[in-house]
């Protein structure tokens, strides 16, 4: 068993159909002729652009986590919370499972994803594989579906509308930081991170 010129062939992961790879032009999306899944798309983002996006996302992420998300007012009293306020509140209220879920999907996994990407892209910029490249790329693959910041933005909106019936609601900077983060995630969503395997060849590791 050995490599079968990996650049030349492409296998649809949804139906196992084998294709010869073709060079994609700007805006091109290669689709599987059997199952219509997306095989590959042209990526307009250079490594530098991706790194810039990730660094921006990191800054926004720190702000989204430091700043309060929203403030409620009732009879002159005020109450506000941050993401970690939510995580601790759920822990105290006997919902530790939910606390861990929130911490993982809204804090640790997104943070880990950004750190890994930042690390890998930083070295990829110089055409090199970062130390730990293989292991980190595998972790990144499994992390994929478990980051949920964009779901949280919608959840915060729902919570605000619900609270609005009984309280004075003031959105805080944290919610705007989250909205910005969602925007960045959306821009990044079209990027197939597997391209890094090809972008930075093994020899220079």
């Amino acid at each position: 068993m050995g490599m079968s010129s990996p650049e030349a062939l492409l296998i649809c992961e949804h139906c196992d159909t084998v294709y010869r790879r073709r060079t994609l032009a700007r805006g091109d999306v290669a689709r599987c002729a059997r199952c219509e899944a997306e095989l590959e798309r042209y990526h307009a983002l250079s490594v530098n652009a991706m790194l810039a996006l990730i660094l921006t996302a990191m800054i926004v992420f720190v702000q989204a986590n430091m700043w309060p998300i929203v403030t409620l007012g009732l009879s002159g009293q005020q109450s506000s919370t941050t993401l970690w306020g939510m995580i601790l509140a759920m822990w105290r209220e006997q919902a530790q499972v939910v606390s861990v879920l929130v911490a993982a999907t809204l804090f640790f996994f997104p943070l880990l994803k950004m750190l890994l990407l930042g690390w890998l892209l930083w070295f990829a910029r110089a055409g090199r594989r970062a130390p730990g490249f293989v292991r980190l790329m595998v972790i990144l693959h499994y992390l994929g579906p478990w980051t949920m910041s964009e779901v949280f933005v919608l959840g915060a909106l729902v919570a605000i509308v619900k609270a609005h019936t009984y309280f004075d609601v003031t959105p805080d900077p944290g919610i705007y930081a989250y909205a910005a983060l969602t925007l960045l995630i959306t821009v990044f969503a079209g990027v197939d991170l597997r391209q890094l395997w090809d972008d930075v060849p093994e020899e220079t590791a």
Partner: protein, 217 residues
Amino acid sequence: MSALPRASELGLIACTVCGLVCRNVPGDPRLDGDGVGDDMACPRCGTTLRRRKPNSYVRTWALLIAAFILYIPANVLPIMRTASLNDVDDNTIISGVVELWRAGSPNLAVIVFTASIVVPVLKFLALGTLLVSSQRGSGWARVQRAKLYRLVELIGYWSMLDVFVVALLTALVRFSVLSLVEPLPGVIFFGLTVVLTMLASMSFDPRLIWDGKDTDD
């Protein structure tokens, strides 16, 4: 060889993690994904190479059934308690949707209803259908079934919406005797349901849809 050759016909195998195309010995029993003697690793990322995800049917069924069992208390039990001076109110997922509708946000109510009710039910029905039809090797509506699977993968995690709503309200509504929000066990069951359905859709191998008798090409 058909116009659209499949990896198994060409003696090729794709790494599920990094996408590398590798050559393998045709009919090698070690690559059946039954977990026995799977010792061929991807030369690029080290992941064990398998033609199909291991024990896909059994795992997906088990996770789906477990998710369904937890989905019952998730809906029956209240997920959140709102307490004020003269009133204690326990909300279920569905009563939360109704309340949101009454609060004057039908759009948001529809979104929450979709995320909390429609998406999980769709996942149960879709994965159940995919499992049964693939296990029977059915050639029925393969393209549509493949699309259905990708839809389930794409929208699955949005179900976590209500969990985040409860967590945020719990942390926010802290006005001692005046007004309090507490999470109730329903939200734990619901969170676990979402995680299990995500794991279920991940363990289903969409390539199985195309593995039965060829009728359409």
